[in-house]
């Protein structure tokens, strides 16, 4: 697994994708820090970009990488290697190298602007943490989609739909449910529903950490009042980790039974 991981990272280091991704975060983060009065506002704006963009790029890149290396995966599977080691290695290699591009893209401008006060460090690491979690979650979902669909068009279509659903449609459905059951106590439903969307969870983690109640949103406030800030944080991080493990387990199970 380590070898495959190493070579996937090596391949990604040679690809312009990694650099473009790094450059995007670098430019965005530098611009926001330059124009914002204080770093925590820049962090909030960056969060909104990250929770939308990390899932989209990870899902699409993984699906694209899988389809373009389909024949090479076949060749590797014919080597004396365990199937699950090969796919785990590739998955961690891809999600890991995306996470690195993203981390450096955010971190370097903060270093350049000398904004590493202890409060900023905590907020920035939380921001990087949720970005990395989202990258791993959506890379695993990407593998799941790509392994299910031999047809590239269907694969890309499903990947984009999953992103659209989690990033946009889910919020609409969420609000619709709350309005529909307005006459009933909906707190627990709302709390339960927010566990089902990793993007929501990422937002909650960040808001609980930043402790900006005005930006917390309904579910963030619920988490805060229900569990308290710290317990809420632990629970939402744990739920996000389950969101990494569950799709990873599913795609590995799919791969074990798949005909290549």
């Amino acid at each position: 697994m380590i070898k495959i991981l190493k070579y996937t990272c090596f391949d990604m280091l040679r690809s312009w994708w990694s650099y473009a991704y790094f450059l995007f975060y670098f430019v965005t983060s530098a611009t926001l820090l330059n124009f914002s009065a204080d770093a925590s506002r820049a962090i909030t704006s960056l969060m909104n970009i990250i929770i939308t963009l990390c899932p989209l790029i990870s899902t699409l890149l993984v699906v694209m990488y899988y389809y373009s290396s389909r024949e090479f995966i076949e060749l590797l599977l014919a080597q004396p290697l365990k199937r699950s080691s090969l796919l785990k290695g590739q998955f961690i290699g891809l999600a890991g190298s995306l996470s690195l591009s993203f981390t450096f893209g955010l971190l370097i401008p903060f270093l350049i602007f000398g904004l590493l006060s202890s409060e900023n460090i905590i907020n920035l690491s939380t921001l990087i943490g949720i970005g990395v979690l989202l990258t791993f979650i959506f890379s695993a979902l990407g593998y799941l989609v790509a392994l299910h669909h031999e047809n590239k068009i269907k694969g890309f279509g499903t990947a984009i739909f999953i992103w659209l659903f989690m990033a946009v449609i889910y919020d609409g459905l969420f609000l619709f449910t709350l309005v529909l059951f307005n006459d009933y106590p909906t707190d627990k439903i709302a709390l339960g529903l927010s566990f089902l969307n990793p993007i929501d969870l990422a937002r909650i983690i960040m808001m609980l950490k930043l402790d900006i109640s005005a930006l917390m949103g309904y579910t963030g406030a619920l988490f805060n009042s229900f569990f308290g800030s710290n317990t809420g944080l632990i629970i939402s991080v744990a739920a996000s980790i389950i969101w990494v493990i569950f799709p990873t387990h599913l795609f590995l199970r799919k791969a074990a039974r798949k005909d290549f």
Partner: protein, 247 residues
């Protein structure tokens, strides 16, 4: 060494292998032939563990291969489509596969044989289809393992490279290796194969030497013999006799 026992495989409702039984002759070059969809690629992929059979088993060195991967240390495989990570150079790719296989490979002689030295440090994406196939061949033959599986080995190669490939395959056979290959080019089959395994509708329809298949079909050459079997143009008594022998 390699034995397929009562192998069945369907893709959705399409039955590809129908209770197939086959014993691959050791130390020979065997050509797997058959019309499109007869199961040639499927048996190769089943042997490599890429496709999982619905039932039946495959024995490698008398051991069932299901859920194991260590037996692949003894197999060198040349896939039909040569696609490698585009951002790697040939030399890096050789290093990578050697590292993954954890086997000592000898690439120098093959680099010279296929005149690949000028391309060694070029990225794969800048190589032509024929050169990629040469790289594919190099990665297959650089290791010294007892079984070699080749899927359409001559595709995209120029005549000089084809002649060198044939010599290479013969040399490996003379070294005692078992070689299994598929090809649509009958002249290559004629030059290489010691044994022909003919698949039809997911079963082994014929297994024997070139001379036997010519006799079996009553045709002057292999191309016509194969065409007549595929089109069903075989005199009935012969067919019955051979079916009784081989099925």
């Amino acid at each position: 060494m390699i034995e397929f026992i009562n192998l069945n495989k369907s893709f959705s409702k399409n039955l590809v292998l129908d209770n197939l039984n086959l014993n691959v002759s050791e130390g020979k070059i065997s050509a797997v032939l058959g019309p499109n969809g007869s199961g040639k690629s499927t048996i190769i992929k089943c042997l490599l563990g890429l496709v999982l059979p619905d039932s039946g088993q495959i024995l490698f060195d008398r051991q069932p291969i299901r859920n194991t991967w260590q037996y692949r240390e003894k197999i060198d495989y040349l896939p039909q489509i040569a696609r490698f990570p585009e951002n790697l150079a040939i030399s890096e790719l050789i290093k990578m596969i050697t590292d993954i296989r954890q086997q000592q490979g000898d690439s120098e002689a093959l680099i010279e044989l296929f005149e690949l030295s000028p391309f060694m440090h070029k990225k794969i994406r800048h190589l032509s289809g024929g050169t990629r196939q040469k790289v594919n061949i190099l990665l297959t033959f650089m290791f010294n393992n007892p079984v070699i599986i080749l899927d359409e080995p001559s595709s995209g190669l120029d005549p000089v490279a084809i002649i060198r490939l044939k010599d290479l395959i013969h040399r490996e056979r003379d070294n005692g290796k078992t070689i299994l290959f598929t090809s649509h080019i009958m002249s290559l089959v004629e030059d290489l194969a010691d044994e022909i395994i003919f698949l039809l509708e997911g079963k082994v329809y014929f297994q024997g030497s070139k001379e036997e298949i010519l006799q079996f079909s009553d045709k002057p050459n292999l191309e016509n013999a194969i065409a007549s079997i595929i089109s069903g143009d075989i005199p009935d008594p012969l067919k019955k006799k051979h079916l009784a022998n081989y099925l």
